[in-house]
């Protein structure tokens, strides 16, 4: 395999991506279905999305493809599809030292199963397991899909993953950048059940209908629910306040063994991301950011320095999270 080490993770035209595939490169791709479906078979995985953070600015494109060129990292890999019957094997399938990148279709059984169970999978934290939830043009009826480049087939109900082996002297490290801070002086929310919706919950210890509480108190649902995992602030975004059925729909699950708080609204998303991104001595191999940050923060046309990648319908950093930038470095 010829290595094209000078190439970076960035947006490319389809002709360049076809050349890379035909060269045998291992690629993780993000693009609109209309362009992904024209790619030849090869060593690649992909998910549908037409929103990106490019080198110069955030943009919408149904022609360009975002390429993470994994051949620069390793030649040893395994591409595998996952559904609810085998997702529990994802950590077991990974190499002893490496990482796993996964793309999941939204609102399907595999999405729900992964979100609810991934944290408890044995060995889940031995290597970085990261990736994103596929999406589509928000002004279309398109169906989000994942692609297995080996077979050339797409799916709307299966996740696709690539397990990559790293040499012994390298280690992959997964990090997140969350611009939202917990409102520690505000209410404490304790769900009564695990899941993607909240009906009744405990608000400051009192049983309360959460949809009614949000509606009555005019809470800004552009800012996510948050919980602290030993200092890591994990976001769960609001999808819809269903006052008719007295429930709150969410883009990721809440868990009854966790305590949640509202977050403090952000004024300037792009500036806050740049402010919160740590100094990194090595190159970022992968990054993605959330469609809600892109929309609420009006990131189209704005630049986040040194971080490029797909704008996604959910981010995966061992588990499903929302409104968060996820990135991988190799040291």
């Amino acid at each position: 395999m010829k290595k094209i080490n000078a190439m970076k993770s960035k947006l490319y035209k389809i002709e360049t991506v076809i050349d890379l595939i035909n060269d045998g490169q291992l690629l993780a791709l993000a693009g609109d279905e209309k362009v992904l479906q024209n790619l030849p078979k090869g060593n690649w995985i992909a998910g549908t999305i037409p929103y990106f953070m490019g080198e110069e600015k955030g943009l919408f494109s149904q022609e360009l493809i975002f390429v993470n060129q994994l051949s620069n990292i390793s030649d040893e890999f395994l591409i595998k599809e996952y559904d609810v019957t085998n997702i529990e094997n994802i950590a077991e399938d990974s190499y002893e030292n490496g990482f796993t990148m996964i793309i999941v279709p939204p609102f399907q059984e595999i999405h729900k199963e992964f979100a609810l169970k991934s944290k408890e999978i044995e060995g889940m934290y031995d290597n970085p397991v990261f990736g994103w939830v596929a999406g589509m043009d928000l002004n279309s009826e398109d169906v989000p899909k994942t692609f297995n480049g080996i077979t050339g087939k797409s799916n709307n109900d299966k996740a696709i993953a690539v397990h990559v082996k790293l040499p012994e002297d390298k280690v992959a490290r997964l990090e997140i950048v969350n611009i939202f801070k917990q409102d520690i002086n505000g209410i404490e929310i304790k769900p009564l059940e695990d899941g993607f919706e909240i009906s009744d919950c405990l608000v400051n210890g009192e049983r309360t209908n959460f949809a009614k509480y949000i509606s009555d108190n005019n809470i800004d649902i552009k800012s996510p629910l948050t919980t602290s995992y030993s200092g890591a602030i994990i976001n769960v975004s609001f999808k819809n306040i269903d006052t008719e059925n007295n429930k709150v729909d969410l883009y990721a699950p809440v868990f009854k063994d966790s305590v949640y708080r509202l977050s403090i609204p952000v004024n300037n998303y792009a500036a806050d991301f740049e402010k919160n991104i740590p100094k990194i001595d090595t190159s970022v191999e992968f990054a993605c950011n959330c469609i809600l940050n892109y929309l609420y923060g009006e990131l189209e046309g704005k630049r986040i320095e040194n971080f490029t990648g797909p704008i996604t319908f959910g981010e995966i950093a061992y588990t499903l999270i929302n409104q968060t930038m996820v990135y991988l470095v190799i040291e």
Binding site: D126, R173, S228, S230, A232, D257, Y318, T319, E331
Partner: protein
């Protein structure tokens, strides 16, 4: 701190105590410790097994967890 402290140090059990409110800087350590504490509460994992796993994780990410190790074990080179 050049290496990760031995597994028999009592601090490992302190950070894995489900009542512990200690916060960390490294992301995978934050995730792993939170899950390990939940597994201990549910009886899915023993404290000894959790210490083994956290110790192995810290050895793998020795550089990335350096700040957390110094904070927990109060040791600096």
């Amino acid at each position: 701190m050049e290496s990760i402290p031995k597994k028999d140090r009592p601090e490992w059990k302190i950070i894995l105590n489900p009542e512990s409110k200690i916060v960390f800087n490294n992301f995978v350590l934050q995730m792993k410790i939170t899950q390990a504490k939940k597994d201990i509460v549910k009886g899915k994992k023993t404290m000894e097994k959790a210490v083994d796993e956290i110790h192995a994780l810290c050895q793998k990410y020795a550089l990335a967890v350096k700040q957390d190790m110094e904070m927990i074990f109060n040791e600096k080179n």
